[in-house]
């Protein structure tokens, strides 16, 4: 069924290209055509449920950010993935789907929170996981897993406790398991145990 969708979609929207995918049908769509495409997907192709909105940070590449949308058709029982490159690498933005799918609202807030992609036309584009005054977007490639020192969100609590947001002790981590072999030998361990917060990384 997805194949016929692909044929129909590419015939109707000539800007669509098929995207390499190891599971479901995936399409590349330019950002300015996203609303048009998604309206048609919802109203004419039966993709009536938006399951997920997320993004990928490709680090040094350009375009750096790609937004992803996972649609489900509750009548055809089929998934469809739409990938949209953000035109601007420094102030990434995409059109908001919150007007088409109610589920886009919180998903877009999450993606905005963690990747810093602005969704134009979103009714309330505020952070959803981190607090409002948090200065970073943690899932970007240039953000360290351990975090960056920042003040606590509440000034009075910070003053009373002297606490602040500190980078978590990684101790050579992140901790990963090699995966194969018996569990007793594949306990998660740090890839590079030659350094920790107390003992600097050796420079060679």
């Amino acid at each position: 069924m997805a194949e016929s969708d692909l044929a129909q979609l590419t015939e109707r929207f000539d800007y669509l290209t098929e995207r390499v995918s190891s599971d479901h049908l995936a399409l590349n769509c330019p950002a300015d055509k996203l609303i048009e495409l998604c309206t048609a997907l919802r109203d004419e192709f039966g993709y009536d449920m938006l399951n997920d909105v997320t993004a990928v940070d490709w680090d040094a590449q350009s375009p750096r950010f790609t937004g992803f949308y996972h649609f489900l058709s509750t009548t055809k029982h089929d998934y469809l993935r739409v990938a949209v490159d953000c035109p601007d690498d420094f102030n990434p933005s995409l059109p908001s789907l919150a007007g088409l799918f109610a589920s886009a609202n919180w998903h877009e807030r999450e993606t905005y929170d963690l990747f810093g992609i602005r969704y134009e036309g979103h009714p309330d584009l505020t952070r959803i996981l981190m607090w409002d005054s948090y200065p970073y977007h943690p899932l970007r490639k240039d953000f360290p897993l351990a975090g960056i020192e920042t003040p606590l969100p509440a000034d009075d609590v910070a003053e009373a406790t002297g606490a602040s947001v500190l980078p978590a002790p990684m101790m050579g981590g992140p901790f990963t398991s090699s995966g194969d072999g018996p569990m007793s030998q594949t306990e998660p361990s740090a890839k590079d145990e030659s350094w920790s917060e107390k003992q600097e990384k050796p420079t060679d």
Partner: protein, 181 residues
Amino acid sequence: MQNQNVAYDSKVEGEIIVTQADAVINWIRKHSVWPMPMGLACCAIELMAAGASRFDISRFGMEVMRFSPRQADCMIVAGTVTYKMAEVVRRIYDQMAEPKWVVAMGACASTGGMYRSYATLQGVDRIVPVDVYISGCPPRPEALLDAMIKLQDKIGRERAVKNLIPEKADSAELAGAGKES
């Protein structure tokens, strides 16, 4: 007939018991701990199990879980404390009436646990003074009960009036909350 009332004989002493104020006050306190269940993640499930019939925390006089900090005197931090939630935990702690105690239940509350990440407070003792830490991910209800019994012992050894006389040095120590940074 031999006198069996070794310590106290009402016929001799009347309705009077001689003891220390600390002993009496602490005895009362430690048998009526009202916990504030600060259930933030999976550990809270074990906390609930400790409250249910199989483990039955009421055997130790602590079954009166109160969801209002005004009516509680022992905060059981059961779960992962994110930086966003840290503010709330501290505020609830501040709202609890003195004397009050804090139990850090589980790896997350004690040290951040497996969440060595940008979002997780690495130990609730950075923001509130912790009396008892419980290891485990999650600790079994028995471990929680053991910790609460240890807390009772600790309450029994305190000076009963220590929270009534604010000492400058003491409050600074409280605020710094145990961990040097």
